[in-house]
């Protein structure tokens, strides 16, 4: 029974991360944009809905003069839209940057978001984070059902998986459409679609906005599930993890992005079960993290193109055989 609870929680985490990975795959896999701001979009989503759906608070630590106590649906919708808007705004300033330059500017943007939420406590309660975030439909699942405590989590899991499925269908369809074809062309060499009259800046903005929006949605789902959010949930390492998921899944494949996420979340969870009666067990926490690192490397070694990536596409244009 308690295993089931754990599995459900891990499923929810994986599902929410999968949304992040789907957004990232639109950016990188389809459009070739090196977005390192994902943790920022995630944070915007989480904080937006939190501020909208909780009342203002006072107290020595929790002091926060802004809070709206609105319905959760409103929070989630606005969170998604606002994250998309932030994505578009960041993109507007930096869309003409290439490759690593874009990566660094977006990483900076995410860091700026994090600094703001860490320090502007009138809005976010700063390092203390915000507690008591309401859960959707929680009234329908009394928490004192004893053996049924997993009931709510199960409901939430279904909700998250439903959204993952919907997003998957949405983005997969976009990717396979003529719209996606232009994105792919931008990924390969932006000059070509431009020469053919495609308004590439617009396409890039759309791609950025859509991917950021879904990250915002993920943030909102996160906040409403975990009761409390704090700025340390939105470190650059989160962005790196999403990258790892997308690359391990195989850039360009949405199913891959989801699988990659399951792998990343799974490996973190599975390694928590390392038996502690091993030599060096005092170092177990570190050994666990080392194993996670090694797993990342090994999976890429044995699946160079990722779990579901297109090997042929990756190899195209390489003059060597790439054995």
């Amino acid at each position: 029974m308690s295993y089931a609870t754990l599995l459900v929680t891990v499923g929810i985490i994986a599902g929410i991360y999968a949304l992040l990975a789907i957004g990232m795959n639109m950016h990188w896999g389809d459009t070739g944009l090196l977005n390192f701001a994902h943790a920022g979009f995630f944070a915007v989503g989480a904080y937006t809905t939190t501020i909208l759906t909780t009342p203002a608070a006072d107290g020595l630590l929790a002091e926060r003069t802004i809070g709206f106590d609105l319905p959760i649906v409103a929070g989630i919708v606005v969170a998604t839209v606002l994250a998309a808007v932030v994505g578009v705004v960041i993109a507007l300033t930096s869309i003409r940057l290439e490759g690593d330059y874009l990566a660094m500017v977006t990483l900076s943007a995410a860091e700026i978001v994090r600094l703001l939420i860490t320090n502007e406590s009138w809005l976010t309660s700063g390092a203390q984070g915000i507690k008591n975030i309401p859960r959707p439909a929680s009234g329908a699942f009394p928490l004192d059902l004893g053996a049924f405590v997993a009931g709510y989590d199960l409901f939430y899991l279904v909700l998250v998986l439903g959204l993952v499925g919907g997003s998957y269908a949405f983005f997969e369809r976009l990717s396979a459409s003529p719209f996606g074809r232009v994105l792919h062309a931008i990924r390969e060499d932006e000059a070509v679609p431009r020469a053919l009259g495609k308004r590439t800046p617009l396409f890039k903005l759309k791609s950025f906005g859509l991917g950021a929006g879904i990250a915002g949605l993920a943030g909102a789902l996160w906040a409403h599930f975990f009761f409390a959010i704090t700025p340390t949930m939105f470190l650059p390492s989160l962005t790196f993890s999403v990258w790892a998921a997308v690359i391990i899944g195989g850039a360009g494949s949405y199913v891959g992005a989801i699988l990659g996420t399951v792998f990343i979340v799974g490996i973190r969870q599975v390694t928590r079960f390392l038996p502690s009666d091993i030599p060096l067990s005092a170092e177990l926490p570190f050994i666990r993290l080392m194993l996670i690192g090694a797993a990342l490397i090994l999976v890429l070694y044995y699946r160079p193109q990722g779990l579901l990536g297109d090997e042929e596409r990756m190899a195209a244009g390489q003059s060597l055989e790439g054995e």
Binding site: T93, L300, Y301
Partner: protein, 287 residues
Amino acid sequence: MAAITQFIWFGLVSGSLIALGALGLTLIFGILDFINIAYGEYMALGAFIAYGLNTSTELPIYAVAVVGLFATGPLAVAMDKLVFQHFRDRSSIVLLVVSIGLAFILRNLIRVIWGSGSKRFDVPIEAAPTYFGVQILADQVAIVALSLVALGVTFLLLRRTDIGVAMRAASDDTDLAQLRGVDTERLVTYVWLVGGIIAGLAGVMLGLDGQLRPTMGFLALIPIFAAVILGGIGDPVGAVVGGYAIGLLQEVSVIVIPTEYKPLVGLALLVVGLLVRPDGVFGEATR
């Protein structure tokens, strides 16, 4: 109000630290063409190796520092042979993810060997003497001087030697470099060696200036990357200038803004700078 010159000196010191890190990173980044997240861990390793010697032997800090930084070079080469070499033909983003994995391994290896707490080199903490109204520590002078020396050497290496030209050539087009008879594998080894040594130097200096933590390199990485990008990837002079610009601006900024927002200043400089000059603000970008 402390004199602005004091803040400028702080800026020079922290700028030197950023610049040193950026110098080694831009070399690796520019030539091997991928963002090496594990670079921060190389820095930390250099510092911790020096620390290990510092506490286990009676050798003075400057002696062990040298050992520490020269140990990091071969270590970086070993990491290449063990890990990166097997991903030579992969896209740079795959290498980035591989380097995330490596960073995990190294950071926690440090924790296994040295524990997860912070450490300090065995040097006394003393009030800094004042010269011309500015408090200056001997360590700080060493940091500033060494970063300039390292820059000079690296610059000459890249621009004035055939090896340097070949390094840049190989980063442009490995196949063609091979056709010209360049043993690209050996070149890569040199790049790691030099980049690793600079990382070690940066790590030791960072530890000397502050303290040692397993995460010290990773935490230092963002301003270092910002400096590399600001300077134009692969441009050693740009990286150093970028490092100083970020360091100075951040330290001086606290006169007018809360110290909490210090890191934001460097990032804002980067963002604004790149909007004006998309290929790096300082120096000539090489790609």
